[in-house]
């Protein structure tokens, strides 16, 4: 910021100081020389034309003089009164321009000659015949010649040119002064007024009007400028408001939040007063958008914002951080319990039913609540802290208020540590694939293994997937983990074959994002080829949720995988949508019944009924059923009775690293023919 300011300042100075040339001066420089030039040229032109016209006039006048003298001289010349001729000739010498004159008789002899002054430069001569006539005769008695000088004209013209030059210079000077004064008044001053207004506006960002009162174009310009200043300041205000507020609800936005946090401690009465920070997240807002459309979603958000506004006191502060996240800050609460009550009031206010498209919708939200002293130096971390509580509420008890406490903070720090340690985990091979056997419930033969991921963390020990898979998914490492597990499974298949269990299958869990990845099938084939294992030995477990999100691409990916020979198992059936249509629509080979249905069996008649229905349906559809989480023998018995062929659980085998599994398998008898009989028909193209 400092640096940028310096730069702009420097730029401004560079641009402004040396290059500032006054428009008035520029105008004067542009016009005055032209004016002077034109004036001088025009004067010179007029003077030149006047000079030529005077030359012509002088020529004509001397010619007339010659002619009139010729008339006067004709008789004395013809009558040879040469003294009279000389007299007449002398009379014209009063004319200053005439330098000399001569009269010649009809023999060409000079009869009279007068020279007034020595001939200078530029002497012209005119000659006219002298015709004498009386009643009886008409003869040319001789000729008169007059030499005359243009010197007077030259000197007159020269002095007039000098005078014109002086007058032109004076006029130009006067024009210059007049232009200077008038341009200053009419241009310079209004411009300076506007510049001054701009400078002041630049200094403090407020719109200052330019003080120009004239009614000419500059007056209009200043008027328009002032109007623009006004408009600009309004726009800047609106822009500032928009930058700090959410356009949909009109509530302050995330940017305002950080600014507000800065002022919180200052505004507080004492450093010990408690500040309640509620981080609100609407539950399943995506569902609202999907169901009712985005316009309705927006309307929904506006409703929520209005409710929040109505629910708070004037001193409270409400903001929308984006999406379905809101923040409410109460600057002063007596204790944490009061704060909790306040948060619950907010939840209650939100939970009033809303009509969307003539449907009653009951909004639900979770709140993460953080309470801190006003003097707490970590006050700016309040959103993050509340977010930790919110995370807890969302993941553990949606629709409730979670208060940030030490446990939550510790969990948060652990999650954050783990998340940060994921790349190291991959790099250092801290992720381990453990395998749990799938067992024929009748024969108790091991028919396959499920690959289960574990993280052997150097500090936290072995961590289960329930804790770190969401972190993997959030950090975008799903694909890497899947490849990692696939590779490990293929290596395990190789080991199994070497250990005399070449027909043993391994099931891999595919996260939902992988089903959208079209390259998965190709990679699976390449990996199988690399380890020289049959893809038909791989079983891919998917969840119903991953099917729902992108039915088309999931279906395509499944078909590809199946064409490679892999079998597809639907995991955790019964907990999610449990759509019967899915069972029919997707190319499934197995359905794994969630352990939630198993754990209460055989005591829960309902669960038994559900499992029974599922089993009969699977039987009808030709799907193999696997019961998960079998921990007791009677559960296995019950499953067997309901026709569930395969099972998996601690009763048979806890997940173990491959080495341990291989050791364990040595003790188990192999019944491969059975497994083969159960294996699904291989797609014709791969059978060949």
């Amino acid at each position: 910021m400092q640096n940028r300011d310096d730069m702009t300042d420097r730029d401004g100075k560079q641009a402004a100081r040396p290059r500032l040339r006054s428009v008035v001066r520029a105008m004067i420089w542009a016009t005055v020389p032209v004016l002077l030039l034109v004036q001088l040229l025009a004067s010179a032109g007029v003077e030149a034309s006047s000079f030529w016209s005077q030359i012509r006039q002088l020529d004509a006048r001397i010619a007339r003089v010659a002619e009139s003298r010729a008339e006067l001289i004709a008789e004395p010349l013809w009558k040879m009164r040469y003294d009279q001729v000389t007299g007449v000739l002398n009379e014209i010498m009063h004319d200053e321009t005439i330098a000399a004159a001569a009269v010649y008789d009809d023999t060409g002899t000079a009869i009279a000659r007068v020279v007034a002054r020595p001939a200078g430069q530029a002497v012209a001569e005119v000659s006219r015949p002298i015709n004498y006539s009386n009643g009886n005769m008409s003869v040319q008695a001789g000729r008169i010649a007059i030499a005359y000088s243009y010197a007077t004209l030259y000197s007159d013209t020269g002095s007039r040119l000098a005078l014109l030059l002086v007058v032109g210079l004076l006029a130009t000077f006067a024009t210059l002064i007049a232009m200077r004064i008038s341009a200053n008044i009419f241009i310079g001053k209004p411009l300076a007024a506007m510049m001054s207004a701009i400078q002041r506006s630049k200094q403090d960002g407020r719109a200052y009007p330019a003080e120009v009162r004239s009614s000419n174009e500059f007056g209009q310009l200043a008027h328009a400028f002032n109007a623009m200043q006004h408009t600009t300041s309004g726009a800047l205000d609106r822009l500032g408001h928009m930058a700090a507020h959410d356009p949909l609800t009109g509530l302050p936005n995330r940017r305002s939040l950080s600014e507000h946090l800065m002022t919180l401690s200052n505004d507080a009465g004492s450093p010990d007063s408690l500040i309640a920070f509620c981080f609100i997240d609407l539950d399943d807002f995506k569902g609202i958008n999907d169901t009712f459309g985005h316009d309705a979603g927006d309307k929904f958000l506006v409703h929520i914002s209005e409710r929040l506004r109505d629910a708070v006191e004037p001193q409270d502060w409400v903001a929308r951080l984006g999406g379905d996240e809101f923040v409410v800050i109460r600057p002063e609460v007596s204790n944490e319990a009061t704060a909790q009550r306040f948060a619950r009031q907010l939840l209650d206010a939100i939970s009033e039913p809303i009509r969307l498209h003539d449907k009653q919708v009951v909004p639900r939200a979770s709140i993460g609540l953080a309470v801190r002293r006003a003097g707490d130096p970590e006050l700016s971390h309040l959103p993050a802290l509340a977010d930790i509580a919110l995370y807890h509420a969302k993941s553990k008890a949606p629709g409730t208020v979670a208060v940030l406490d030490e446990t939550l903070q510790r969990d948060y720090r652990r999650r954050r540590d783990l998340e940060l340690a994921i790349p190291t985990g991959f790099a250092e091979g801290q992720f381990e694939v453990w395998y749990q056997s799938q067992v024929d419930l009748v024969s108790h033969d091991v028919v396959g293994l499920e690959a289960l991921i574990r993280w052997r963390h150097p500090e936290h020990g072995v961590i289960g997937p329930g804790e770190f898979l969401p972190l993997i998914e959030r950090s975008g490492n799903n694909a890497q983990l899947t490849r990692y597990v696939l590779t490990d499974a293929c290596r395990a298949l190789k080991r199994l074959a070497a250990a005399g269990r070449p027909q043993m299958r391994i099931a891999i869990n595919l996260p939902p994002s992988e089903l959208a990845d079209h390259s998965l099938a190709a990679e699976l084939r390449a990996t199988c080829a690399r380890f020289d294992v049959a893809a038909s030995l791989l079983e891919l477990e998917i969840t119903e949720g991953s099917l729902i999100n992108n039915i088309a691409s999931a279906s395509e990916t499944l078909h590809r995988l199946r064409r490679l020979g892999a079998t597809i198992a639907l995991d955790d059936f019964g907990t999610g949508y449990s759509s019967l249509a899915h069972l029919r629509r997707f190319p499934l080979d197995k359905v794994k019944i969630d352990k939630a249905f198993i754990s209460e069996i055989p005591d829960s008649a309902e669960d038994k009924a559900i499992v029974g229905v599922i089993a009969s349906l699977a039987g009808t559809l030709g799907l193999t059923l696997v019961a998960e989480g079998i921990e007791r023998a009677e559960q296995a018995e019950a499953m067997r009775e309901m026709g569930v062929m395969l099972g998996q659980g601690f009763l048979y085998h806890r997940p173990q690293p491959l080495e341990a599994v291989l050791e364990w398998l040595k003790e188990q008898p192999a019944r491969e023919s059975r497994v083969l009989a159960d294996s699904p028909p291989i797609a014709p193209e791969f059978a060949a």
Binding site: W78, M80, Y82, D106, T109
Partner: protein, 385 residues
Amino acid sequence: MTGLLRILLAVGMACGILVPPDGAVAADAKRLNIVFVNPGKTGEVYWDMVAQTMQAAGRKLDAHVEVLNSERNYRTMQELGLGVVARGDKPDFLILSNEESAAVPILEAAEAAGVRTLLLSNTLIGDDAARLGPPRQKLRTWLGDITTDLQTAGARMANALIGAARAEKWQSPDGKIHILGIGGDEITPASIARNAGLQLAVAAAPDVVVDRMLFANWTQSEAEQVTTNYLSWAARKQIRPAGIWAGNDPMALGALRAVTAAGLTPGGDIQLVGLNWSEDALREIKAGRLLLTDGGHFLLGGWSIVLLRDYADGCDFAATSPRVEVKTSAITRDNLAAVGDLIKTRAFDRIDFTRFRARAGRCGQYDFSIDALISSLTPLEGTAD
């Protein structure tokens, strides 16, 4: 010659005895009182001679001639004339010369006063002539005028020049005889007439051209100047000047000086003619430098007295014409001897003016020729023959 004179004398004496002489008759009838207002200047040869012949004739014809000099001032002339008319003792006749038309007011005043007038040398011209008509009509006291035939004089002078040039073969390279004319002025009738005579003569001679008609204001110096200019021009034009015609003697003499100055020999290389019978001219004729001088019109003074005497005696010249035109005559080396002294000495009393009076029954018919003049002269004492 002497015989003839003697016969004439005898006849005259016989008449004088047998018939009462005219003078006696006049004396008996009345001694005439005549006033002449002279327009000229004292010392101006022509007008002095006019006055002198007038007075000489008066002595012969019983008339008292009073001469008043205007000194070339026409205002003075008018004052003098009007003063005469206004006199209580009015003269019988008033003789005027209408130079510059200055005599007209005097004529009209005389008419009012009943004084008889005669115009000498210059008569009415132009508008005056048209307005006042011929003599004795509107102005009953204006008896008439006596003038000289100067056109004939001009022509005679020109013909003399042409004849001499032809005889000497003074043609220019173009085959023509080139003559210079010098007139006095271009406006007075006396000048116009003689100039017209020159033109008339030249028009009749196809081999003659007047190169220029120059005007010198009757004066010798101006004539000399223009002649100098002409000769110089002619030399440049490669013209051989054959003759110079001058409207009067002073101008002829000026031309003569210019000719001499130009290195020409007057009478040898070129001929000059003048008019006026001036003494200087006669001297140049005698010297062979001037071909002739025409004139004798100063005798108009004497002739005017003859007319008025006859008129007073009842023989009115108007019987023939109120306008008497006297021919001039040329004096050449041939007749110079006869009249040279008369002019030189101005002994006009030698002229017997009584012999010029009109014969009874032939009123207005006069012989004023040079021959009649010569025959009327009484021989000089001691120089007869």
